[in-house]
Symmetry: C2
Amino acid sequence: MTVSRVLNNSGRVAPETRLRVEQVIRELGYVPNALATGLFKGRTRTIALIVSDISNPFFTVIVRGVEDLAQRNGYTVVVGNSDESVEKERQYVASLISKRIDGLLITPAGNGSRRILEALGRRGSPFVLIDRDVEGVTADSVTGDNVAGAKLLTQHLIELGHRRIGFINGRRELSTSRDRQRGFEMALRERGIELNPVLIGDNAHRRDEAYRVAHQLLELPPEERPTALIAGNNVLVIGVIEALRSAGLAVPEAMAVVCFDDLELASALDPFLTVVAQPVRSFGTIAAQFLLERLNGEADVQPRRVVLTPELVVRRSCGAGLGPLVI
Amino acid sequence: MTVSRVLNNSGRVAPETRLRVEQVIRELGYVPNALATGLFKGRTRTIALIVSDISNPFFTVIVRGVEDLAQRNGYTVVVGNSDESVEKERQYVASLISKRIDGLLITPAGNGSRRILEALGRRGSPFVLIDRDVEGVTADSVTGDNVAGAKLLTQHLIELGHRRIGFINGRRELSTSRDRQRGFEMALRERGIELNPVLIGDNAHRRDEAYRVAHQLLELPPEERPTALIAGNNVLVIGVIEALRSAGLAVPEAMAVVCFDDLELASALDPFLTVVAQPVRSFGTIAAQFLLERLNGEADVQPRRVVLTPELVVRRSCGAGLGPLVI
DNA sequence: TTGAAAGCGCTAACAT
DNA sequence: ATGTTAGCGCTTTCAA
């Protein structure tokens, strides 16, 4: 019909006819059926965002950024929670393919995501990795420099005089965890501090595991016990603080604690931790930007990998922990 | 084709044919086109969730609950951010209608949402209100008992000896704010405490406004100054705490602070506030349940309104504030 | 048990 | 400047 031309501003329509059509559209409350358009065009102007935990403030900020940019560009965002499960990711991606979503933004659950993403790529759907890399997958990605971030935190503690630094790290499966651990170890080595494997509690999946691991570190004999703790992310640090509290240790008076990621709201509360902050919102917006560019065919063929630089935010002296615990 | 019958388990298909079809489906990596199905059936197995701020942990928990339940029932969730703007809501709903989303869950931005929701209802799309009511709209809804919650907080403070209680409340436009203020005033009246309008700072939209309002209350002459503050929600309370900190007042030693809503992560930090906690996750899951029931035609015609009971969580004595500030 | 026809609402290409 | 045709991929109905 002529209606289509009016709605899309395509082709010539007599001004008078246009007005008449617009009038009727308003009267009828007519809304075009995007399913039919999508069916015909093969595009739905919908993108998907799969995060591993939507109730984690870190990912929340990403969601917000993505939603914002998508909305401004006329795209709708479908949000999925993978719960760090590759299986749930698979289900999601299947549903997205079925619904002919134009592209995907994802914080992959692990290296197992590789096959899923490859399958998606084979269908011609562009996707962008956020926060984490997947071994063997080459695609647009927006991540932080986790090696550098871990070095910043570690160096900070070392400069304050700490020598026995505990590290409570996240899932080994994640590139972020691996990189952070690498940065930690590098920083120690550069300063000539011997790495004590006992002080590394890695592969903590959740807050309660961080709690447990922190407790283990506290039970070390005094001469081995850490004077400072680095938590691998914003969730683990809560478990760490809870463990310290239950042990009657004040932060940072009795134990220095630093961590990755800044929580906007929590940063107003106590303890004001020294953290390595990442420009998280940019993770989302840049990734969305990349995806939209690909969808518009504006992007080069070769993948772009952006690594954003983290920043040390010193909120409170972490040197204090040295006192009571150093024998 | 016979393929459709195989995929939907409808009609008779020879076992042998079925196997052959399944084989080919696997070989081709065939995925049915949900757009075509939706176009024909008029249903998309997609629901939308519009919240006012997806980076607010309160709503985040709702998103999580909704996503969870939807996923388990084979539905996809489209998430939108209204930023407390009715205009953005309108745009979203238009896009959702166009995409033939089956139903909507919404934390409405205000009474202006009424027209939008009525229009949606006229199209036959079911929707469920979450957390907030809209004047003049009758629909399924899941909310908290905000009058009761405010009374709990106020009574708690009164019992601890506070008489001058400040109230920093959220947007007047929201039913939650109005109800909370009503509960606050009722509790005062019931205990025979005269209401001092000066102590009510209402209509704070954001954290910085709460900060400003709290500062105003602190600048009152000593004999009028509050000894305790109630913050209208989890975001405003941060502003309040920041204001107290900048004024050098410890919480709760120098000033009692209580608020609505419990933040899972922040609750592990200092100050451990006494709060009225709501079963927020249930807001999402119950609302989603209602919506899905309607979509399945299982629900009665008359709207169901669920009001969930809040609970006082006492984390730290709020009586302490009485000391220094009471002249 | 399987196939053929028609139509869901849209748009690109081709008439008129 | 407008209308007609055909087809995107599916499902329902009816026929074989």
